[in-house]
């Protein structure tokens, strides 16, 4: 009876389960868990909003700027937003501790505003979003990103043309 061999082996090896929640549970580095949003890197391209299958991500225009909103309870953890984000502003962490009291359901969201600024070159009202790095050679330096952030779309193009980058 070859199953007896397995029984004996299992007795020697001990349980295969982990004692969670009294001990740690194995969490791989790549686990696709809770969404993390980095406002500084967001280019406001809204790619994440367009690919988000359950519609967990939404951008709204507010008087102060463009509001990024993401509902954790609507998220299906597919990772498409991270995949299509040009700047890694949105990514999935390995945090899977998402259980919460029903009373907290409306705080289970990310709400951040990309503010409006006056363009430092022409004074027009513009969004202080991060510049889109796609196709920019050589890549932006941190100073250039800060400079671009405070320009309106027209002046950003002008600055890029002066830089000699392919647009």
């Amino acid at each position: 009876m070859n199953f007896l061999k397995i029984l004996v082996r299992n007795l020697v090896h001990g349980p295969s389960t982990v004692p969670f929640p009294f001990g740690p549970a194995w969490t791989p580095e790549r686990l696709r868990g809770r969404i993390v949003f980095k406002l500084d890197s967001c280019t406001a391209c809204r790619a994440c909003e367009q690919v988000c299958a359950p519609g967990a991500i939404r951008f709204d225009k507010t008087p102060d700027g463009l509001r990024f909103m993401m509902w954790h309870n609507t998220c299906v953890f597919c990772g498409l937003c991270e995949f299509y984000c040009p700047t890694d502003a949105i990514r999935q962490s390995d945090d899977w501790h998402m259980a919460h009291a029903t009373a907290d359901q409306f705080t289970m969201a990310i709400r951040e505003v990309i503010p409006y600024v006056s363009c430092t070159a022409c004074g027009a009202k513009a969004l202080a979003s991060s510049p889109n790095p796609v196709g920019i050679t050589p890549p932006f330096t941190p100073e250039e990103i800060e400079q671009q952030r405070n320009l309106c779309p027209g002046c950003r193009k002008k600055a890029l043309a002066e830089r000699g980058a392919a647009s």
Binding site: N2, F3, I6, L7, N10, S16, W26, P28, E29, R30, L31, R32, A47, Q50, V51, C52, A53, P54, V76, F77, C78, G79, L80, F83, Y84, Q92, V134
Partner: protein, 361 residues
């Protein structure tokens, strides 16, 4: 001896999926079967036309949890054909790896459930424990235990570095002898053999009549595997072994699945050896999808899966239609259940590995 009509399902302790069978029995023997579908219809074909091409990768992945790699893959293959995208070689191999990892887990799951239905609970737990190694692979490499999110339009969304190749190899080295051990157990164990040999027989001619696909067809002696007959991704460069058995009973179907799980481990190793360098997607941005229609076809763990996609000038598909393997296979249940003992109904139903979430979507 008296005649009864017995309902089995849609919610029944021994059925893994919500199907409804009306069995006309004479004593202990099933004389006639009526199969009724539609209990878990979710309207996904309609939902797909309400979401754009990229969102649908995620929606198609969630049609079925056990074939959750095959659905987006067939869908992506159809879209790539419309858009004229060429999947880079590395992505083709990575797609094959994802496909085979899912196949091992899916087949072991079904074979484990068979042990559970036979009443051999400790073997069921053991098979599930072996499958758990593959679940760890999915979690460690793809980031999720079921919806692995490997595919995207034009390639794959994951990559493996030498460290992860090492981890994958390490897990395969553990899984392979464990599968060999399980095969030996299913081949020799009296409880398993007694409940499965000569039960639910589907003859070769009947399998052809029903248009059966996947392990159900191969266990009835039909040598048909999409990976060989119409190779996709990297399968034209891999040595795919097709397993067939002549008897067409429940045991043959389980043995074909186990043999395929072992072959899948070998295929993953072949892919890892031949894995070329290069990009993993045809384009890093969202590609434009022109007007057109196409068909994508792949071998899901349950058999041949066909996707039809029609795009108009909208970002949303006008029509997506898929034909799933379980739809072809459940027709064969009529033959398998005929003159079966009523105690074998659950075992026979499980032996086609029915996926009602795909079939009724």
């Amino acid at each position: 001896m008296s005649n009864f009509t017995i309902p089995v399902g849609p919610l029944h302790v021994a059925l893994e999926e919500p199907m409804y069978f009306r069995l006309d029995v004479e004593g202990e023997t099933v004389r006639h079967v009526d199969i009724t579908a539609g209990h878990v219809h979710r309207g996904i074909e309609y939902l797909v036309t309400k979401r754009n091409v990229f969102q649908n990768i995620v929606l198609t992945e969630r049609i079925c949890s056990l074939c959750s790699n095959s659905h987006p893959q067939a869908y992506a293959m159809a879209i790539e054909q419309i858009a004229g995208l060429t999947v880079p070689p590395r992505a083709e191999y990575l797609r094959a790896i994802a496909d085979e990892v899912k196949r091992v887990a899916s087949h072991l799951f079904n074979v484990g459930i068979l042990a559970h239905l036979v009443g051999f609970e400790s073997l069921f737990m053991h098979v599930m424990e072996v499958r758990e190694m593959m679940q760890d692979v999915k979690e460690g490499i793809f980031g999720n235990r079921m919806d692995i999110g490997a595919n995207t339009i034009g390639g794959v969304r994951y990559d493996i570095d030498p460290e992860r190749i090492g981890y994958l190899n390490e897990q395969l080295n553990k899984v392979e002898p464990a599968i060999a051990e399980i095969i030996e157990m299913y081949r020799t164990n009296g409880s398993i053999l007694g409940r499965t040999r000569g039960v639910g027989v589907l003859s070769n001619a009947q399998a052809i009549d029903c248009g059966c696909v996947g392990p159900v067809a191969r266990a009835s002696g039909i040598n048909y595997d999409v990976r060989v007959k119409a190779p996709y991704t990297a399968y034209d460069r891999l040595d795919v072994q097709v397993h067939t058995l002549p008897d067409g009973d429940v045991w043959s179907r389980a043995m074909v699945r186990l043999a395929e799980a072992r072959t899948a481990v070998d295929l993953i190793r072949q892919c890892l050896r031949a894995l070329p360098e290069g990009p993993t997607t045809a384009t890093t941005e969202r590609p434009p999808i022109p007007v057109g229609e196409a068909i994508g076809k792949c071998e899901a763990p349950r058999g041949e899966l066909i996707y039809y996609v029609r795009m108009t000038d909208s970002p949303r598909p006008e029509r997506v239609k898929w034909r799933v393997p379980s739809f072809m296979n459940w027709d064969a249940l009529g033959f398998m259940l005929k003159d079966a003992k009523i105690s074998d109904v659950a075992i026979i139903v499980n032996s086609i590995d029915p996926c009602i979430s795909c079939t009724e979507r």
